[in-house]
Symmetry: C2
Subunit: 215 residues, 2 copies
């Protein structure tokens, strides 16, 4: 009955764990075997007490006076993040962005192999992109099931985004990353995150203006 090994991980911590993970993997490949919270903070771009609070939530994995064992910590963070084994990804939209994402090798090596690529445009369907054949959008459910995709990326124009999200959910996907601008709504049971470039630029412009004002 509701056996939970990691009782409660704050969202802010979840968002930092992948950053620690990346830093730890780098350190490991440099042959480093032990890190202090101070060192890990430095490679992650946060402060040391933050690192300690975050790691203490996963369990007491550090040794006082010494630090944390790199390999062991990598395993623990992977376990908590659910990054034990690869998570197959389907990308909807094989335009410029979809292709750029498909070609980006970091996904596969990071444990997120792109296993499906669909588009609705007849000129694009059938093309080979990064070793994957672009399938028709109508085949989405099939593609998802054949490749056991559990994560979907929306890389279409804004106008299509909501219906793409609906179809992803219909295909059995509960985790969606949306690159299209504009509002997409999903049921509570689905996790939707968005990467909103226009918003990012506006935020930067705001700070730029603040700077100018203080000159």
């Amino acid at each position: 009955m509701d056996e939970v090994s990691t009782p409660l991980v704050p969202e802010a911590t979840v968002a930092r764990l992948p950053v620690y993970l990346r830093g730890l993997v780098d350190l490991a490949s440099d042959g480093v075997e032990t890190v202090s919270s101070e060192q890990l903070a430095a490679v992650a771009g946060v402060n040391a007490e933050n690192v300690r609070k975050d790691l203490s939530i996963l369990g007491s994995y550090g040794k006082r006076g010494v630090g944390y064992e790199v390999d062991f910590l990598i395993e623990q963070i992977k376990r908590v993040l659910g990054a034990g084994d690869p998570v197959s990804v389907v990308i909807v939209g094989a335009g410029n962005l979809g292709r750029a994402l498909a070609y980006y090798g970091g996904f596969a090596s990071g444990g997120f192999p792109i296993k499906g690529l669909v588009d609705s445009s007849p000129e694009i369907i059938g093309q080979e992109v990064a070793g994957i054949t672009v399938e028709p959008f109508e085949e989405l459910k099939d593609v998802v099931q054949k490749n056991s995709c559990t994560l979907g990326i929306i890389a279409t124009p804004a106008a299509a985004a909501q219906s793409v999200a609906d179809q992803l959910i219909n295909a059995g996907i509960y985790s969606i990353l949306n690159f299209a601008p504009g509002l997409v709504t999903v049921p509570e049971s689905v996790t939707l995150r968005k990467v909103d470039l226009a918003t990012e630029l506006h935020i930067l412009a705001f700070h730029e203006q603040q700077r100018e004002r203080n000159e």
Copy 2:
């Protein structure tokens, strides 16, 4: 001395204003002249009290019993965000991602025209991408100054990111959007935001796992 028209805008509000702006522009193009906080909340995907709190920070622009005047609100949000006139952008890295960004028309129409595109690879330099000629990375400072770019986007591999950031700052850019994974540090006077795809996928995987655990 220190005349500040908008005394203090919380970061969380700054991050939502562009979303309101997009919704308002859509509404305006549909001929809508007045919105309630409830309606604006619906198109922005937040709740109504949040909208009211955010807008009240800019000033008392609403009419009780009626709502907000769409056109006027658009102007006010633009003013606060510093989106009055176009902000020229330079992209460093004309690989798949850099090209995808350059081709994305939403930037120009949103007030962020791409005015420069540089890369270090000889095969790419000189190519025409989205109507822009790719210039050598060494010419960055020139490109920035000639086109009055105030915002830089890093679309290079992780290994180059830090030195690209340094060069952008050296070229006079204080606002940077980084797509490369890994740590990039900048002086306090510079605003750096990052879009971290690997982290986004890890966060989704975490929630996916949470779901599975509760089944």
